[in-house]
């Protein structure tokens, strides 16, 4: 694609392909995400954004192509191995442990970086070493007051916040967010944008988002996918004027968010 490769890509994908029983959902995608950038992934429904996320995080195995993070080849690695290499993700559909409290969620996430999880002979009090950090993270996303309620009982917006906190707890170099504002009201959206702004410091964020206001507010670069291929890549201001993007995705800008 005509766009120049950013200077120090932390995450690169080369010619990624994913087939589902003869259906090609991702079709030769090249992606370079610059270190420290917020990179938005947009595109029509079914363009392959979520599938690309699944590939990058190991939930699907690519049919072809390679994935590198920080110079390491992570192609074909399992999700947990990728997570350990500093790639964390949130889910498009909220995905939590309904019976655990937010504090327990974070303790679990923090523990993931250690071998403590295998110590079946230790008391679970050993997890207390993570409590301070957990509460700290909850505070960051505004959940401090709800640290000990079962997650299943949290309101939707708070669940999304917890999703974010979980991803943060892994202290990832690269954070992948799948539609972080889907299903949120205006005010929650604003709050989430604020939150992402705060947490982007020191890390790279890749997000799928249909809400152009959010993209405009956050993204340094935008990649537009269509039918499994990269249509356009560039800064938001450029991309939104691209006639191909307008006809394939944005349409008549009046109705856009």
């Amino acid at each position: 694609m005509g766009t120049p490769v950013p200077e120090s890509p932390v995450l690169t994908a080369r010619s990624l392909v994913k087939d589902f029983r003869g259906f090609r959902a991702v079709d030769g995608v090249d992606l370079d995400v610059a270190d420290g950038a917020v990179h938005a992934l947009v595109g029509p429904n079914g363009a392959g954004k979520t599938t690309l996320f699944h590939l990058l995080t190991g939930f699907h195995r690519p049919t072809a192509g390679r994935i590198h993070v920080g110079g390491r080849d992570l192609t074909g690695k399992r999700p947990e191995q990728i997570a350990r290499h500093g790639v964390a993700r949130s889910f498009q559909i909220t995905s939590l442990f309904p019976q655990m409290t937010p504090r327990e969620h974070l303790e679990l996430a923090l523990q993931a970086g250690t071998t403590l999880g295998w110590r079946f002979w230790r008391s679970d009090r050993a997890l207390r070493r993570f409590t301070d950090r957990a509460l700290d993270l909850l505070d960051q996303v505004g959940l401090a007051a709800h640290a000990d309620e079962p997650a299943g009982a949290l309101a939707y917006g708070r669940k999304r916040a917890l999703e974010l906190a979980l991803a943060l707890a892994l202290d990832p170099r690269v954070l992948l967010l799948d539609e972080p504002t889907a299903g949120m009201g205006t005010e929650d959206i604003d709050r989430t944008v604020e939150l992402i702004r705060r947490i982007r410091a020191g890390r790279t964020v890749v997000m799928v988002e249909h809400n152009m206001t959010v993209v405009a507010a956050l993204a340094d670069r935008v990649t537009v996918l269509q039918a499994g291929r990269v249509l356009v890549e560039g800064p938001y201001a450029e991309v939104r004027r691209d006639h191909r993007v307008i006809s394939a995705y944005l349409g008549d800008a009046r109705a856009a968010h």
Binding site: F23, N45, G46, T51, G185, T186, Y249, G251, A255
Partner: protein, 234 residues
């Protein structure tokens, strides 16, 4: 056409709707706006006769085309011409896309033929042999809407049909809703996207904490956006 009087709904002890009354006239598009947890979904489910299981109950009346719905089971309500698009899209994993479309019976005077559905949503034609839930989030949303259109329902109850859809498709859905309206279909729409609501709807009800707090005409919503946002906000 739809006439709701003093509708209240509970989840166990928790009352989530309090004496809601509203009317939708034939051929109208009415939106229901309100922030997360206001009770929008519950209202639609109550009208569909789905707010019945596991401690859920309702009080009050709902009339559709002059007939009392209160005692009818869900499938009989549908047969009278109500079409429902649930907030979780309700796509069947065990059915293919095409089966998802052909499953429900026709319930109204103008069911869409399959060809028209595929013309309007070419994506669905391409994916018609896949399992329903293998579709992308947005494609599932289309499928859910296409399904009730195929039934030819006289009135659509749509719960956030634009969530997760690309701007282009959102516009397309707006157009579809206006088109079906021209064919005489009535729509009750739950929507968080105020801009979208403004472009399609004739009237709006603002729901907050289980009560109707405002009723606005179509264009008023933009003019009074600030005031509204306050309601939606806090």
């Amino acid at each position: 056409m739809l006439h709701i009087e003093d509708l209240s709904a509970w989840y166990g002890e928790a009352r989530v709707l309090t004496e809601v009354s509203l009317q939708v006239a034939e051929g109208e598009i009415v939106t229901l706006v309100g922030r997360n947890g206001a009770g929008k979904t519950t209202l639609l489910r109550s009208v569909m006769g789905l707010h019945t299981t596991g401690g859920a109950r309702t009080a009050g009346t709902a009339e559709f085309l002059g007939a009392d719905l209160t005692r009818l089971p869900a499938h009989r309500r549908t047969r009278r011409g109500l079409g429902y698009v649930p907030d979780d899209r309700g796509i069947y994993a065990t059915l293919t896309v095409e089966e998802n479309l052909t499953l429900p019976p026709a319930v109204g005077p103008h069911p869409w033929p399959l060809g028209q559905v595929y013309e309007t949503f070419p994506r669905l034609r391409e994916r018609r042999r896949s399992a329903g839930t293998n579709l992308s989030g947005g494609e599932q949303q289309m499928l859910a809407l296409a399904r009730v259109l195929r039934m030819g329902a006289r009135m659509l109850l749509c719960d956030e049909p634009t969530e997760g859809l690309s701007p282009l498709i959102v516009q397309q859905i707006g157009k579809i809703l206006r088109d079906v309206k021209d064919q005489g279909v009535t729509v009750l729409l739950v929507e968080q996207n105020v801009h979208f609501a403004a472009t399609v709807a004739d009237r709006h009800y603002l729901l907050a904490e289980g009560r109707i707090v405002r009723s606005l005409r179509g264009d008023e919503i933009r003019a009074r956006e600030h005031e509204l946002l306050e309601h939606l906000g806090i």
